[in-house]
Symmetry: none
Subunit: 281 residues, 2 copies
DNA sequence: TATGGATTGGAATTAATATTTCATATTGAC
DNA sequence: GTCAATATGAAATATTAATTCCAATCCATA
């Protein structure tokens, strides 16, 4: 192996792109495949990769040799190393942000801390969201005559966003907030043909709990967004989502809740459109 | 291989932890090594892993079989799958989410789309936020007697969050919203010793623009969060932030704006505490 | 402390995988 | 169009790695 063999993925990638024009057809084919499917190269066997790329195993080895490696195995090491590093890189970057933020590096650090908390929360919810629950919630909300939206304090911004988005989608909704103190009366109008989105996180705002209970007692189905299965909201809800938000400096992120809220809203709009088409068509 | 063989890493991990106490010494040794060095299991050979863990290759296979796999190779697949999912670099994961969302794979795809949009927006703002502007905004807001918060429609959730957080930090603030239509009068009370956070994105809500103009004319310093240097808000503002939010399905994310808002709020609280200490000490 | 069963180490075996080789096909230059 | 150089396919071979097997050891129990 000569001195200029690429040892890291980026160099390798650059080298391949650089020589691309001058490579023979089959070699170019495997080169393109390698850049498009680096994970396959990292994990596969020469035979399996060759098959996926539509070439012979020997071509794979010639490709590696042409780049200066002494065989496929050495080439593969670069792809594996990349995975190892990439693995850590995102988490490390986040950890670095958070560390810097926590050791108190000025005001910029505060900003970094919140960005890190938001990213972490999004990653978590993306991994943990249950598809079936989501579908169920969408179905339940899509057939409601009016969607009541219920949240106070820290969760209120989410509720106000939901109300805004539902309005834009022309879906009848009622944000339960009344400057005149008429929440109870407002809730009284809800029927089992309606539905509720209730949002509350520990420490649960007592008003949210009370209103959720009373609306549940009227037989109105509830979709809850909360932070644990022990949440008082969970017992009232037909479907509930557990959202774990990361916090920074005592302030919890609401980015994951927000993303879920947006998705619910738009999915409900989508489902109604589908239903509408079916009725007409 | 029986039915209950763990197919994903988390299940596998749980199974191992569960049985840990009842495992023979060498098997326990390799079990601990596997959980501590999952990357090594994913990439290594039976011999190399066994050597690193200080056991015989055959022990490794017995370990796998005890978990229900038919050999080391099947066990290794689980560790590799984990890397594929986890490791597929952050950007790649995002791209995958977005691609899946855009090709329209049902309702889950909508959720993925919003998560991707939020993550992208956070990445963008993290790169583009100007430290000096941020410091300036914090300084300006920290010395205000009352912070007025101004935003309508899509930006309103951010404003309501700011008002909530400022309240928690015991910083006097006024969310400019009045069910009684008294916004103009409310604004009339502001003086140059106060400050304003105004938030608006294209298409700029006319009310926000009008109110911002009139409050600017009273000499009240303004911090604006908006989406372009051509924004009508920019001309009125002492400091302004350009926040580019990614969108999905016509709905723009607000996660970056939210992170910035949280950071501003908490940084202002921080700066006030610092100033308080200095006066006393 | 003797006995049986479980556990372990290490070598032998088997399976798999990478690499090489060689015949054939393709391409480009004259 | 011919020739040489280059590229490719397919199978043979060499290498490496997984698995199995058996003897040795350990451990619990009587």
């Amino acid at each position: 192996m000569d001195e200029r063999v690429p040892r890291d993925f980026e160099t390798l990638r650059a080298t391949i792109l650089d020589r691309r024009a001058s490579l023979p057809k089959r070699i170019a084919q495997i080169a393109a495949y390698a850049l498009d499917n680096p994970d396959d190269i990292a994990f596969g066997t020469a035979a399996s990769i060759a098959a996926s790329a539509g070439v012979q195993p020997s071509t794979l080895i010639r490709f590696a040799q042409q780049l200066g490696f002494d065989g496929f195995t050495s080439l593969q090491l670069v792809f594996r190393e990349r995975l190892r590093e990439r693995n850590s890189s995102y988490d490390e970057r986040l950890a670095a942000l958070r560390a810097k933020a926590e050791e108190g590096g000025g005001h910029r650090a505060i900003f970094d801390g919140f960005v890190a908390a938001a990213s972490t929360s999004l990653g978590d919810i993306s991994r943990s969201l249950n598809d079936a629950h989501f579908e169920e919630a969408v179905a339940l909300l899509a057939k409601a005559e009016t969607i009541y939206v219920l949240a106070k304090r820290r969760s209120y911004p989410v509720a106000s966003y939901i109300a805004y988005a539902l309005g834009k989608l022309k879906i009848r909704n009622q944000l339960v907030e009344s400057a005149a103190g008429l929440n109870a009366e407002m809730i009284g109008f809800a029927t089992p043909r309606d539905a509720v989105i209730a949002i509350s996180f520990s420490p649960y705002a007592p008003a949210t709990i009370d209103e959720t209970r009373s609306i549940a007692e009227q037989g109105v189905p509830i979709v809850a967004i909360t932070d644990s299965s022990f949440s008082p909201l969970a017992q009232f809800a037909k479907v509930w989502f557990e959202v774990a938000e990361a916090d920074f400096g005592g302030f919890r992120s609401i980015s994951a809740t927000m993303a879920l809220a947006m998705a619910l809203t738009v999915a409900v709009g989508e489902k109604r459109r589908e239903a509408g088409r079916r009725r007409k068509g």
